[in-house]
């Protein structure tokens, strides 16, 4: 098959690896197909990590530029092309966030830990009153408020629903680390959504109300949301 023939037809059934191989051979159509297949996920990952559309656009561009320049460094034995791209995007996001000196979300303090162990039902009414769009916005803000190492596992494992192994490859850490960070992140999220850090138990009613409101409004438009915390 000649390059012209390849350029003239879409390769929809080709795997990411095959597209990457063709990309390395200079096949622009393959690169375009790979980009179209993966750009949305990378863009959303950067958006959810950085909380800014401008950051997401820059990171997406830098990620695929890196792919153009360094695709030969991809090792299939170390994970999928998607994980490779997530890893590149993650590095760019973290670099960008560092350079912008964005206010880093704080690790939970000792006081927060104490609050986790303290009363659990006081914020139920407040949570229960939050509905619809505002509720999803609170979830988004809570995710953005997580420290980066917790945020990235939530974004990858919960929002992008990739498995622990792929997340571990993208993040360059053991699977157990991903799992433990995710569980820790869930506790922190629940605490933030309740208006305070949460212990491991209870708040069932308030979070159930939260879930009901969120599911009802899951098709809300994205534009117009506030940009981060």
């Amino acid at each position: 098959m000649t390059g012209d023939q390849r350029n003239s037809m879409e390769p929809p059934e080709q795997s990411d690896q095959e597209l990457l191989r063709l990309t390395l051979e200079g096949d622009e159509a393959a690169f375009t197909a790979l980009y179209r297949r993966r750009q949305g996920a990378i863009f959303r990952f950067a958006l959810q990590m950085g909380g800014s559309r401008a950051v997401a656009e820059d990171v997406t561009q830098e990620t695929f530029l890196t792919l153009i320049q360094e695709a030969r460094r991809y090792d299939p034995a170390r994970g999928s092309v998607a994980a490779y791209l997530y890893g590149i995007a993650r590095n760019h996001v973290l670099r960008r966030l560092d350079s912008e000196r964005a206010p880093a979300p704080l690790e939970p303090s000792d006081n927060d830990q104490g609050a986790e162990a303290a009363g659990l039902a006081a914020g139920d009414d407040l949570l229960g009153s939050l509905l619809g769009r505002e509720q999803v916005e609170r979830v988004r803000a809570a995710v953005l408020a997580l420290p980066a190492r917790y945020r990235e596992v939530v974004v990858l494992c919960d929002l992008h629903e990739i498995d622990y192994a792929e997340a571990a490859r993208a993040l360059g850490c053991p699977i157990g680390t991903v799992r433990s960070r995710l569980h820790r992140a869930h506790r922190m999220l629940a605490g933030k959504l309740a208006g305070r850090p949460r212990a491991g138990f209870c708040q069932s009613q308030s979070l159930a109300a939260l879930a009901a409101a969120q599911v009802a409004d899951s098709d809300m438009p994205v534009e117009g949301r506030s940009g981060g915390l």
């Binding site: 863009f43 320049q69 979830v139 995710v143 869930h186 308030s206 994205v222």
Partner: protein, 264 residues
């Protein structure tokens, strides 16, 4: 409570990532454990909230202009030849450079710089002398100059005094043979000697002949031996200067008659 509360498994259950057997066990435990039931409900709510957030952002895409820009970048990259392992070479070099090697390289670099500085300072400046030629060296020398063989007919290759001799010996050799370690005496004649350390150069590139008077000690800067007892005496030389003013070759044109000598 029959068993330890499986908090991690509850999180996985809420995320829908627990295998059926483990799920049954956790659900059974949650039925009997009020705390775990609350945790499970909370985790399910959180998972639902995260799913709602993901669903709300599912339509987010990079702007279309980005694809065009990346396509252009791809074409530019494809048009350029792959750099010949420049990065790999750099990585190898970096890996080879331990701190000891780095220190040695730094010392060598300093020594090289010092040598270059010494050479530069010892390098003969354009002498303040009489330009005995008004043009290229191929013109005949004025009468005042002693009869010359070499200046009249430089080698066809243009390499001063190198065409007939090995370059190594030509650099410091004098045609007449003064006493060892001694510059020529007054009235002694010599051929042009290529000065050491001069890069390849051809007469066709342009040159001029300059007569100058300098102390014998200045010959040291040309790499020539000097008798220390007479280092202060002046000596007359002819210098071939290239267009850039660098002295390329030297010839001894005789000793300067000083008042003291005249008195004798």
């Amino acid at each position: 409570m029959e068993r330890h509360c499986p908090e991690d498994e509850i999180v996985e259950l809420a995320r829908g990532r627990l295998d059926p057997d483990a799920r049954q066990a956790v659900v059974a435990h949650a039925r009997e454990c009020r705390d775990c039931a609350a945790l499970l409900a909370g985790e399910e709510a959180l998972a639902a909230g995260l799913r709602a957030l993901a669903a709300g952002q599912q339509a987010e895409q990079a702007p279309p202009a980005l694809e065009a820009a990346l396509g252009m970048a791809f074409r530019e990259r494809a048009a350029k030849p792959e750099p010949v392992g420049a990065r790999a070479v750099a990585r190898v070099l970096i890996s080879l450079v331990t701190w000891r090697r780095a220190a040695a390289m730094a010392a060598a670099s300093l020594a090289l710089v010092a040598c270059l500085l010494l050479w530069w300072r010892a390098r003969p400046a354009a002498p303040q002398g009489q330009d005995v030629t008004a043009g290229p060296l191929t013109r005949p020398l004025p009468q005042a100059a002693p009869p010359q063989r070499s200046a009249e007919a430089p080698p066809a290759t243009g390499k001063v005094a190198q065409a007939r001799r090995p370059a190594r010996s030509a650099s410091k050799r004098r045609i007449t043979k003064p006493p060892a370690g001694e510059a020529p005496q007054a009235g002694a004649e010599s051929e042009f000697v290529v000065l050491p350390g001069t890069p390849p150069w051809a007469l066709q590139d342009g040159a001029r002949l300059v007569r100058a008077t300098m102390p014998r000690s200045a010959l040291v800067s040309f790499g020539l031996p000097v008798n220390a007892e007479r280092a202060g005496q002046p000596i007359r030389v002819d210098l071939i200067l290239s267009e850039d003013g660098v002295a390329r070759a030297i010839r001894f044109a005789g000793q300067v008659e000083t008042q003291e000598r005249r008195r004798r």
